[in-house]
Symmetry: D2
Subunit: 272 residues, 4 copies
């Protein structure tokens, strides 16, 4: 084996391979071992982690994806629909446009919460992570640091669900029932308490935050947590674009905005 | 009720709604009726169709999504990884870039096949759609027309799987086992036969084509068939980007391409 | 020179190269020969065509780009702004979302018109392309064929500019003044006439159509015509996003839509 | 004027308006005052700033855009080409994919440098910003802070142009010649000096950094600096995609990667 023969080692991937007569995914035969054997969500779990989830993990994972799939006529849904208005021939463009707004403000908190909780947990020795007092001090420190740096604590508060985000208690109940109430979900509750005490205002744990904590407890990195939020939201976008193709909103929204914008301009320019 | 009060009727959506304390999806309470009750794939089915699939439909639907999720280091996967190289802070941008190549050549055939089969079936009176002779004549006409217009028949042939696409026989077997071998799956087989006879060359039914036919038999429009292909592929992209963040390919691929491109240029410009 | 040494020939590009101490664009030194020497538009022309435009060509090319840069709060601008709402950290994502709607309905007609006019011109022998009678017959045939196939003739009509698109006469005047009134611009006028006679309704040449014809007369392929429309529109998107970062529309548009959509739903569900 | 009549004030935009017979851009008539009167770059400047640049500003602005337009077969160019491979029908999707990689690593430094220099300048009273000693102390503080936080100083160093980025001295010379060598360009030189002294290693000012400083001296916000980088790069992408449509790289790059990746895998799995 010469150096040259090994020189393409960097091009290896563990995700999937194709040959003339087979497709393998994470080392398993797609047609023979996976299609008809594992659900789509379990396959997504396998793709990202390399292993098939337990039934309990699968149940919680499906619930997390379900919780993130749809939230009404959000800005990202409107962006997807307006993109379809201009390019109805390119479904992939409209879906992509709908995902591009899943950033810092909307679905990014799934990743940000997972990352923040990792930092909180890193402040506590592993053997003390179920000790609420130790966790509480770490959470208080992290919340105080965020405040000192002018940063928001991710995973808390919601512009619509001001008291309770209905997804959160349900996700916590499902995680407990599945025996998967882990350190991230616990830490998020402790963080919410610390924020209430230090910030003086009770902010509910939002659905994105709870989803990020649950995914982190399932073993996923913050980046993959964000990825699954995008996967979930894609299901909602497909449905909105199917509806847009039959009952369009985009074109009339444009006319509505143009008309009102023009009227506002004329009124200011031409006083009564 | 005045005209004005009804004037926003065009802004209604049947997909999802939010209020301060609830989220509804297709008229069902997300937290109370869906999370923990339906799988993610079933929720995607509900979102697009308005109804929860039967267990048989769910089984086939999951298998179709699984069949489309991953296919190695495809051009779209490489595009996603190279985008991550430049913008690792924006997972949504890399996923979007990966989806944008799912067009006419790669995942578009899922939609195109569904559309082509609809046209074939429209040539046959509904009551004769399980009559192979009637279906055969319609398929021959449609294939001949495509050839006359210089168009390829979608759903047939594959650059890698030249003899058999391993996903296809598995999907057909699963559809038969679930009692869901319907007119589109049947028509696709008839079309492949007509193409072989008229074109003189046996082309296997490819995985995208079989998936499109199966989704159409599940009741989805061609546009939604494409949408589900994008949903499935998103799962593969998440996994590739997770791997890219740990074992990067993008940066070295750039260097490799630049080096070889520059060498090719110098060799032609400066003869020995 | 062995076969292997030449095997990377397919990786050559004529667009640009970098080395440790230089950057070349279309064979010219970027820093020494282009920066400060050619305008940005001329560089874009050079990049796509391999040559620097004449002053007349440059003048018309700049006017075409200017004509396509901005058109108010279009669906694509709204999509870009709504994407910024969710992901303000990713300017590139908002711009990309804004471009993705530049498809069949909005900026695609620049490309489609160029392509349609190429087909019209291909029906006339080169030496007779300034013969209005010969051109007229070719245009009538092409328009009749489009109608027979249920297709719209691209480049004609506009939802807002119903009588005259103000960009069109200006572009024609500039092309004539520059001595660049060529076969595509001429053919588009003939096509508009044929459409009026055959379709029974006068439709103005729209700005996208005139731009496509002018770009085609400058020697660009239909694909590049579309590319320049995207380049032009990017300038408008940058300005809209700069404004959005200071005077946001996206978040309030979401609230406005959600509120009206919810009210419309309740009114229909709960009769007075 | 009632409250309600004014309630759409938030929908006003200063960028552009359309009416049945006119299009206005920044308050000027597009057809009558801008097309044929201002260059495309000047229109982009007007769109973002609200004013037409002076000839000196225009000259520097064109040079900055030229400097950023093209840099060979970069990861973002490869992503655009690979996207075209899969979806040749959607030029806008390929351009969008090419822009999505213009993030933190590649074109983001244009924005990051502008932002960093703003912070450096904010540490110095306006009347002392041409005092190199005062500027030097502010730069040292900012560089030391970045180092303490484990952050790179933006605008310095380049993976290819290790000694000198050829765009930088040219841009500085053009700025001086135009009388537009301003506080940001000056501060960037001071920052490079501080980095060399504190970091112990001379890193050249890269082209993205110089472009960001020059654009900031022209009065643009960091966000708009990033926007213009995207505008410039779009010109390069149009050219690469035009070439890709005639001499494709994407499909062979896929085959090349798949073949080498598969061989690397087999070699490791099956030892000699």
């Amino acid at each position: 084996v010469t150096a040259d023969r090994w020189s393409d080692e960097w091009l290896r991937t563990g995700i999937g391979h194709v040959s003339t007569d087979s497709i393998s995914v994470r080392g398993r035969d797609l047609a023979g071992e996976l299609m008809g054997e594992v659900s789509f969500a379990d396959l997504a779990f396998l793709l990202a982690s390399g292993r098939i989830p337990t039934p309990q993990e699968s149940s919680l994972f499906n619930a997390v994806l379900a919780s993130l799939a749809e939230h009404g006529l959000t800005p990202t849904v409107l962006a997807a629909r307006l993109t379809y208005t201009g390019a109805p021939e390119s479904m992939q463009g409209a879906i992509a446009a709908g995902l591009l707004g899943a950033g810092r403000v909307f679905l990014g908190p799934v990743e940000d919460t997972a990352r923040f909780l990792e930092e909180v947990l890193a402040r506590v020795p592993p053997e003390r992570r179920s000790d609420d007092a130790a966790l509480g001090r770490a959470a208080e420190d992290a919340v105080a640091e965020a405040a000192a740096n002018g940063l928001r604590v991710p995973g808390l508060g919601h512009p619509v669900h001001k008291e309770v985000d209905p997804r959160t208690p349900r996700l916590y109940a499902l995680a407990r029932a599945a025996g998967l109430y882990g350190p991230h979900l616990r830490a998020l509750e402790v963080v919410a308490r610390a924020q209430r005490e230090l910030g003086g205002r009770a902010l509910p744990i939002n659905g994105a935050g709870a989803a990020g904590a649950a995914l982190a407890d399932l073993g996923f990195s913050p980046l993959v947590c964000r990825g699954f939020a995008l996967l979930a939201r894609t299901a909602g976008l497909v449905a909105h674009l199917a509806e847009e193709s039959e009952r369009p909103i985009g074109m009339r929204l444009w006319e509505d905005v143009e008309r009102r914008s023009g009227r506002a301009r004329r009124e200011q320019d031409e006083p009564d």
